[in-house]
Amino acid sequence: MESPTITASRSVSRRGEKRFHVEISKTGGGEVVAQGLPAWLSTLSAGPASARGPESASPQPPTRAAPNTAQTCRHLHSKVSQALRDGRVSATELCRKCIDQIQRTHYLNAFITITGETAMEQAQRADNRIRTGKPLGPLDGIPFSVKDNFCTENIKTTCASKMLKGYVPPFSATVVQKLLDQGAVLVGKTNLDEFAMGAGSTDGVFGPVRNPWSYTTLYREQSTEDPDSDWAISGGSSGGSAAAVAALSSFLALGSDTGGSTRNPGSLCGVVALKPTYGLLSRHGLIPLVNSMDVPGIMTRSVHDAATVLRILQGRDERDSTTVQAPSTPPSLPEHFDIRDICVGIPKEYHAPGLSTDTLAQWSRVAAMFEQAGARVQEVSLPHTQHSIVCYHVLCCCEVASNMARFDGLEYGHRSTIDSSTDAMYATTRHEGFNNVVRRRILSGNYFLLKSNYERYFVKAQQMRRLITEDLKNVFRSGIDVLLTPTTLSDAARYTDFIQEDNRTRSAQEDVFTQPVNMAGLPAVTVPTALSRRGLPISLQLIGQTLQDWKLLTVAHWMEQQVNFPMIHLHGDSDERKLDRSVRERTHTIGS
């Protein structure tokens, strides 16, 4: 095999070579560094006897057992769909419960649009089918929600932007349509950062999304402050979808993932979040951020559910030329599977500054679990990972500048009342319609794309992207099946802390572990493993090979079964009502 060093330096242009070569030549791109659990990870690792369940994994406080009410909604799809078929629960009942839950947790601000009426009609139809013994599939009658940057026919799709406020698309995204065609029931559209640009779900026109785990007894008991001022962010940009699944108001939700936008909130809200291989799911109807990295993401409460949904959504779509034929997949994940056949890579560069001790502890614990169970665990190196964020910044801004050019107020969306000239109308429309974050990215992107800058920024970033991809390819070529990494640096930040830094800084910090995967188009899934001392979820990410999503989920499923992540239990009702009112008032002010 060619040495990664040669591959790396050769694909960099003469101008880029000088700058990148130093780092490249230190270590070859993407190689196995050491066999077995790396020392830095194993020293922190809890002993094998204690590596079981959240209770035993230091340094966490014990969590309470979930009450029965929540348990009903916690059922896996397969169990729920079985219950539906057996007539133990009806689709309308299920739908009503979810909508009630959305209303009860309104203070989370997870939803932009609630589609209660149409949802109940859909549920009614599902019931009719189920009663006559003709369900459409495993998702028939299952309530789901969709991030508000997926087009939904006749249902508002806003991207949490003033630019698309009130915009009603005339068609549904392919992935949404596929769920509807399966009889799944759409209960609402979820909140996000404006046009999915952010990592906190704090920068949308409808206000920030709150992390449901900051309304659990565990969190509230540690907080001395008012629930309306001390709460954690949901992560982003698909924060609404993550919160909806975590707060039990949907069984599954669609997010989008460009740099980690599904996995980041999935991780912070303690749900399973899958970013499939690029091209496996259609992007038709997903309002783009970075076309070459965007993928629809799947959020569920179990890996099994994610697999069920993936199986339905995957495959070639003639309306998206970048989609590929899905590899054949069995009806469900294998129940019995030998983890000893698996080789787990631990990328040493992911032991990054800012990684919290809680998260590091979880990483060690789970790595040890794999090793204990007989999997091979190897330290690997992905030397170009460190450049991923800056490279992403350039590529993202360029595509944003291009993709946002269509929002000119002519065909749809916001239009300024200033109409002294076409140019004046464009300028004011775009100034009024986009927030600061979007405007800054557009400005930077246009700068990077100028003829005189193109080689210096865009071309270089693309070259670096190739090196990052090569790193990952080489690691998998060397025999690694999956990579195990943290998903985020730490558990969810308090909102008041999070907004101390601007969106660009936060995105750069938050996306470090998730972003390289998007560069390479690989599948990755995040699985919650335990709660932090603050009572907030900590998750780990598994990264797989291109189009090996099924294998990735198989390993994730194994991991999920080992870690025994606890159920959520939201705090008492009285606070909720108060919170609900306050959020409603505030979002109204922000939203208008």
Partner: protein, 507 residues
Amino acid sequence: MCSGKIYIYTLYMVGVVGLEVHAQIQSTSKLFSGSHVRFLAPPNSLVSHFDASLPGTLPVLNRRCVEAAVLTGLALNCTINRKSLFDRKHYFYADMPAGYQITQQRVPIAVNGMLVYSHFEGRRRNQVVTKSVKIKQIQLEQDSGKSLHDDEQSQTLIDLNRAGVGLMELVMEPEMCCGEEAAAAVRELQLILQALGTCQANMAEGQLRVDANVSVHRPGEPLGVRTEVKNINSVRHLAKAIDYEIQRQMEVLQSAGKVLNETRAFDSKSGNTIPMRDKEGLQDYRFMPEPNLPPLFVYESKASVPAGVDPAQVVVIDRLSAQLPELPSVKRTRLVETYGILQEHSFTLVNEDGLMDYFENVVQTTKAEPRKVIGWVIKELMGNLNSQNLKVSQSPISPCALAELINLAESGHISSSTAKQVFQEMWKAPEKTVGQIVKEQDLWMINDKEELQKICRRIVDSHPEEVQIIRRGNKKVLNKLMGEVQRETKGRTDPVQVRAILEKMVS
């Protein structure tokens, strides 16, 4: 004082002309969407979600458009790139809804071609001169919509029917020197595109749009500053616009001025070019690869299509080469060889839409020599069509009717001069048959020997002086007597017969 110098200076200046041609691809649907393509449809009636740039829509490449570009590339001797790429070209304009155009800036579908064309030189403009111009590239791209400015109510109306229609942009190198050459090249291109069926190439309907890059310089010196001339909607105007612009630039330089690098519009009324108000000054199009379209692959042959790819779903060059129709230059050679007609006539036959078919139709239905038929078609038919500004397809006289007329003349039933007269009558009254017209106007040839003798006798008797002259040896005067006979009979006599009779009488 220095007028002599200037004279020499300008004497050696020549025009340099390059062309950028946008040819609308003839296809039922648009380049990246399923909307139909139709000229003069109600505004915004042919607009898909993608054409209106609704967020979340993606381009899906129309194979028919790719095939059209490959066919065109093959006909123009281009190298077809096995892999080509799409790019986004950004600019804000009301009829460009996405804020960018998808085009092929880096690697176009076809490159390095050659267009061979001919034009006429010489005093009688019958010397065929064959030239060629390099085709730099052919790229696939989207057409824009149309803006209609309503100045009275100061509003702009947008029609997106044209937005997203497939275009082939052909770039011709600056290798032509005058309007006539450019016009001949474009005319030849039109014929090739029409023969291929890849573009209807009607300039007036905007299916073919030609912008001319014009500069002047002295041979051997670097090229001068060029202007781009737009708003040209016929081949005739193209020649006019270029010649005007060359002349204008020479005059500017003569008077020690400078030619500005600018865009100018041709004004067909005055025949002048006038500076256009530049849209947004200097444009930086911020090109970027189109991320939603994978590279476009075309394959040499069915055998080179990779496994797992359905050959019916991809573009295969061999298959298209086999479909190439007879191109205009080949047609002309065939016409000259098959019918023995003049080369210049083969140009008229091929260059006039439908004329070759008309000609061949007539040839097949008469016994007359093709060289006789060509006279009728070029002189009589085209003369009438041109004077009334009609197309061949609008001719009131069908090929059959013309053949019938020629047959009557050939068989001696009517004289050739009568035939021309009948032709004009047929033109005026297409509902009548040739026979009817001849009969009604009593134009049948007088073949009765006795009657001819009588007429001739009458003429000889009434022109004693002329007869004397002839008898004295001046045979030329016999023509005058013949003319008298023709007048008397309204041309219904055979000149050979009449001459024989008259000669006998006066001898």
